[in-house]
C-alpha cells in the first residue's frame, strides 16, 4: 500500500500580484474575533503579544524597583516591612530575569527572525503559541501570588537552605520554582523554534556568511538556552522535590549538598547573562550597520566572538561562588576564564567602533541608544573584570558594587540596545515611527537617570553596604547617597514612563513610516510595514548579507509555492539550498488548551505530588487534539 496520490497543485506563479496577495491572505490570515485571536499561530501576532507582555512585566518590575528605592531612600524607613521588601526584591529579580529579559529577547526574535531569514512563519508555530501561553501563565502565577502575599521571598537565586523545606515555610518558594518551570518551558520551546527556523527556513542563498548578525546572535542564544536552561529545571525541580516530598538533594546531613544548588543554579545563571546580552549584541550590530551606513566591520570576527562568548559562558559559573570557600586552584582557573570572556566582548566593541569610525553615523534615536550602550556597557565590562578577580570579589561580592555592576551590564548592555531596537523596529511592527524628539528625551533621561542611579552604588558597595538589605542603620551614613540614588531612580523611571507613553502614542499618531524608513539592508524591510500575514508574497532569494543594499532596484524572489495552503520553503543548513516545500500548521486553539492543562498541573503540583499523575491526563488529551490530523490541505505531503 502506498501513500495517497497528490492532488493537482495550484502554484503561485500562475497568479498576478493582487490575486496572489488575496489568495495568500485568505490562507494565512488571523480572522477577527476573540476565538481566532486565541487560536492564532502567526509569529508576528504572537511576537507582538510577547513583546507587549514582556514590556508590561518590565513596567511592573520597574514599579517594584521604585518601591525598593522608596524604602531605601532613608535609613530605617518603614515604607514596607522586611517581609514585603524581601518579596519585592525577589519579585524584581525573578520578574526581570525570567519574565522580562529572556522573554523579550526571544519575543523580538519570534517577530523578527522569520522576517529576517525570509520565511512565512516560524518553525513549529503551534509550539510558539503554546510557549506564549505558558509564559503568560507563569507571569500570572508569580504576580498573582505576590498580590496574595504569597510572593517568593528567597531572592531570585533562591539559595538553599533558605529556600528549602525548613527555612521557607508555605508555598512561596514553590511558586518561585514553578514560575521557573513555566518560563523555562516557554523559553526552551522558543529556542527550539528559533534554531530550526534559522537552520532550515532561511531564504534560498542565505548561506552561513550571509545570515544577519541579529539572527546569528539569536542562534547562539538559542543554543545557550537549550544547554543552560535544563540546569535550572533540574535545580528547581530538585528544590520542589525537597520541599514537597522530602528528598535530600540539598540536605548535607543526608548526603546532599548546599553548594550543589549554587553549582546548578549558576551553571544556568551565568549563561543566562549572555542569553540576555547576546541578542543585544545582534541588535547593536544591526543598528550600527544601518546607521553608520556601511556593512559591518569584521563580520567573521563578530560571529566568532558571539560563538566564543557562548562557549565561554559555560566556563565561569564559579565566579558567583568565590566566597564559598572552594579550592584555591579552581578559583584561579575561574578567574582566568571569567576574565577571558572580556576578549570576545572586546572584539565586538572594537568591531562596532571600527564600523562607526569608518562609516557615516546618523544620530537617530536608535543610534543614540547604541552610544548609551557603549558608554555604560564598557563600564559594566570593566567592573566585570574587577569582580572576576577572586581577591577583588571577596570585598565587593554581595554588595551594592555588584548591584551596580550587573545593572550596568544588563540595563546598559541589554535594555539600552533593546530600547534602540524598539525605536528601530517599531515602524516595521506598526507601520508608524516613534517620535524622534520624544525619543531623544527618553534616551537622555534614561541614560542620565541610569548613570546617576547606579554609578554611586559602586561607591556604596565599597563603603560596605551589602545587597538585599531592607534597610540600614542611620549611623552607617549611607543615607545621603541612598537618597540621591532614589531621586535619580525617579529620573530613570520618568524616562521609561516617557518611553511607554511615546510607544502608546505612536501606535495611533506616529508618522507613517513606509516600508523601509531607515533604508536598512536586511530582509525584514523587504516587505511592507507592518508585514502582511504571509510575510512575503514570494519568498526572497539572497546573494549577499545586505540584500536590500546590494540589489536596490528589485528583490530577487522564488516562485513555485502553493497559495492554497500554508507552505514554507525548507533549505539546507550550510548554504541554504532549497530542499523541500513544507506545509506550516494552521491556527489552532489546542496550544491554548494544552497550556491551560499544563498550568493546572504545575500549580496543582505545588500542593500534592499526585497532581503530576492526574494532571498529565488532560495534558495528554490536549496534545492529542493538537497533533491529530484534521484533514486540511496542510496535512498533504
Amino acid at each position: 500500500m502506498s501513500v495517497a496520490p497528490e492532488e493537482p497543485e495550484v502554484l503561485d506563479r500562475r497568479l498576478d500580484a493582487a490575486a496572489l496577495d488575496r489568495r495568500l491572505d485568505a490562507v494565512w490570515q488571523t480572522p477577527r474575533g476573540l476565538w481566532a485571536a486565541l487560536a492564532t499561530v502567526d509569529h508576528k501576532i504572537i511576537g507582538r503579544r510577547y513583546i507587549a507582555t514582556a514590556f508590561v512585566f518590565l513596567a511592573l518590575g520597574g514599579l517594584l524597583a521604585v518601591a525598593m528605592r522608596l524604602q531605601l531612600a532613608r535609613p530605617e524607613a518603614r515604607v514596607m516591612s522586611a517581609d514585603r521588601y524581601n518579596q519585592v526584591f525577589t519579585m524584581h529579580g525573578a520578574n526581570m530575569m525570567f519574565l522580562f529579559a529572556v522573554p523579550v529577547m526571544e519575543a523580538m526574535a519570534v517577530y523578527l527572525v522569520p522576517l529576517m531569514v525570509g520565511t512565512r512563519n516560524i518553525a513549529f508555530p503551534r509550539l510558539n503559541a503554546f510557549s506564549y501561553w505558558m509564559y503568560v501563565a507563569g507571569g500570572i502565577v508569580l504576580w498573582g501570588a505576590f498580590v496574595f502575599d504569597m510572593g517568593p521571598d528567597i531572592g531570585w537565586f533562591a539559595y538553599v537552605p533558605l529556600s528549602g523545606p525548613q527555612y521557607a515555610p508555605g508555598k512561596r518558594a514553590d511558586i518561585w520554582a514553578q514560575m521557573i518551570t513555566f518560563t523555562e518551558v516557554s523559553a526552551l520551546a522558543v529556542a527550539v523554534e528559533l534554531v530550526v527556523t534559522i537552520f532550515k527556513q532561511r531564504a534560498p542563498g542565505m548561506s552561513l556568511d550571509r545570515i544577519p548578525l541579529f539572527v546569528w546572535s539569536m542562534l547562539v542564544t538559542s543554543f545557550l538556552i537549550i544547554i543552560a536552561m535544563p540546569a535550572i529545571m533540574v535545580a528547581s525541580t530538585s528544590l520542589i522535590l525537597d520541599r514537597l516530598i522530602g528528598t535530600h538533594f540539598f540536605n548535607p546531613a543526608e548526603g546532599g549538598d548546599v553548594l550543589l544548588w549554587q553549582h546548578l543554579f549558576w551553571f544556568f545563571g551565568h549563561p543566562e547573562v549572555y542569553i540576555i546580552f547576546l541578542p543585544a549584541v545582534g541588535m547593536v550590530s544591526t543598528l550600527v550597520v544601518t546607521f553608520s551606513r556601511r556593512p559591518v566591520f569584521g563580520y567573521l570576527g563578530l560571529v566568532l566572538a558571539v560563538i566564543s562568548t557562548g562557549i565561554l559562558a559555560f566556563g565561569l559559573w564559579v565566579h558567583h561562588m568565590f566566597v564559598t570557600g572552594l579550592p584555591r586552584l579552581g578559583e584561579s582557573f575561574f578567574t582566568g576564564s571569567s576574565m577571558a570572556i572580556a576578549i570576545p566582548s572586546g572584539v565586538q566593541i572594537f568591531c562596532w567602533l571600527a564600523t562607526l569610525w569608518s562609516g557615516r553615523p546618523v544620530l537617530k534615536v536608535p543610534l543614540l541608544f547604541v552610544y548609551a550602550f557603549l558608554f555604560t556597557f564598557v563600564m559594566g565590562g570593566m567592573t566585570g573584570v574587577m569582580v572576576a578577580s577572586v581577591p577583588f570579589d571577596t570585598q565587593v561580592h554581595d554588595t551594592y558594587f555588584v548591584v551596580a555592576h550587573f545593572h550596568y551590564v544588563l540595563v546598559g548592555g541589554a535594555v539600552f540596545p533593546l530600547m534602540g531596537a524598539v525605536y528601530y523596529w517599531f515602524p516595521k511592527i506598526t507601520g508608524r515611527l516613534m517620535s524622534e524628539r520624544v525619543g531623544r528625551w527618553v534616551a537622555g533621561l534614561v541614560f542620565v537617570g541610569f548613570n546617576l542611579t547606579f554609578f554611586p552604588m559602586h561607591l556604596l558597595g565599597l563603603a560596605g553596604m551589602p545587597r538585599r538589605v531592607y534597610t540600614y542603620p542611620a549611623e552607617m551614613q549611607w543615607g545621603s547617597v541612598n537618597l540621591f540614588i532614589s531621586l535619580s531612580a525617579l529620573v530613570l523611571a520618568s524616562g521609561f514612563l516617557l518611553f511607554f507613553w511615546d510607544a502608546f502614542r505612536s501606535l495611533r499618531h506616529g508618522i507613517p513610516a513606509g516600508d523601509n524608513p531607515w533604508d536598512a539592508p536586511t530582509l525584514e524591510w523587504a516587505t511592507s510595514s507592518p508585514p502582511p500575514s504571509y510575510n512575503f508574497a514570494r519568498l526572497p532569494v539572497v546573494s549577499s548579507a545586505y540584500p536590500l543594499w546590494d540589489e536596490r532596484d528589485a528583490l530577487s524572489v522564488a516562485t513555485g509555492l502553493r497559495p492554497d495552503r500554508r507552505e514554507v520553503l525548507v533549505s539546507s543548513v550550510a548554504d541554504a539550498r532549497p530542499e523541500a516545500r513544507e506545509s506550516s500548521p494552521r491556527n489552532s486553539i489546542w496550544p491554548l488548551w494544552t497550556a491551560i492543562a499544563t498550568s493546572i498541573m504545575l500549580v496543582w503540583s505545588i500542593f500534592t505530588p499526585w497532581a503530576v499523575v492526574w494532571g498529565s491526563i488532560p495534558i495528554a488529551t490536549a496534545l492529542i487534539g493538537w497533533f491529530w490530523p484534521k484533514g486540511v490541505p496542510e496535512d498533504d505531503a
Binding site: 496574595f148 502575599d149 528549602g164 523545606p165 508555605g170 522530602g246 540539598f250 540536605n251 500534592t608
Partner: protein, 177 residues
C-alpha cells in the same frame, strides 16, 4: 451563579493568602487572651479562647506558624523525650492518638501545664504564643489528613515520613535503610 462562583473563588484565594501571612508580632491583648483556655475539669478538652477563631486559627493552618512550631519542637528539647514524633521516654505523637485529647487546646494545656507521668510544664519556658505554635505543629504530626501548610523534612537526619505526607495511617511504610 457565576457571581457566586467568583465570590467562592475569591474566598478560597483569601483563605490561601491567610495561610501564607507572616504575623510576627501578636498584639499584647490577644497574647493575653490566648492564654484563656477553658478546659474541662479533667484537664482535657474544653473550648479554645474566643480570640483563636477570630484570628482565623493561625496556629493550625498558617504555614509560617506551623514551621515556627517545628523549630520550637527542636529547640525546646521535645525531641529528647518524643524523638521526632516516634516517642522515647515520652509517648509517640505520630499515631494521632493522644492520652490527653487531640484537640489543639488540650495539646496547648499539656505543654503549658505539663501532665502527670513526666510531661513537664513549659509555662515559664515558652510564651503563650510559642506554646500555641508548638501545639499547632504537634497536632500536625499526628493528624489523619495531610495539611497543605504542613512543613516537610528538616535539614537534618531523616527520621520519618514528612508531616505533609499524612494521613499518618499505617500505609506509610517506615523509611527503610
Amino acid at each position: 451563579m457565576t457571581r457566586r462562583l467568583l465570590i467562592l473563588a475569591g474566598l478560597l484565594a483569601l483563605a490561601a493568602c491567610k495561610r501564607e501571612q507572616r504575623e510576627v508580632r501578636l498584639d499584647p491583648p490577644a497574647l493575653d487572651a490566648l492564654d484563656q483556655v477553658a478546659l474541662m475539669p479533667n484537664g482535657i478538652g474544653g473550648a479554645p479562647p474566643d480570640v483563636l477563631p477570630a484570628l482565623g486559627r493561625p496556629y493550625e493552618t498558617n504555614a509560617y506558624q506551623l514551621s515556627q512550631g517545628k523549630r520550637l519542637y527542636g529547640w525546646f528539647n521535645c525531641t529528647g523525650c518524643h524523638a521526632n514524633g516516634g516517642g522515647n521516654v515520652g509517648p509517640a505523637l505520630m499515631e494521632g492518638w493522644w492520652r490527653y485529647g487531640p484537640d489543639v487546646q488540650s495539646i496547648f494545656a499539656s505543654i503549658r501545664d505539663g501532665r502527670p507521668h513526666g510531661m513537664p510544664a513549659f509555662k515559664d519556658k515558652l510564651t503563650t504564643e510559642q506554646i500555641w505554635q508548638l501545639a499547632g505543629y504537634v497536632q500536625t504530626i499526628g493528624t489523619y489528613a495531610a495539611k497543605t501548610a504542613a512543613p516537610t523534612r528538616n535539614d537534618e537526619m531523616q527520621s520519618r515520613p514528612s508531616e505533609s505526607r499524612g494521613p499518618a495511617g499505617a500505609d506509610i511504610a517506615p523509611p527503610s535503610r
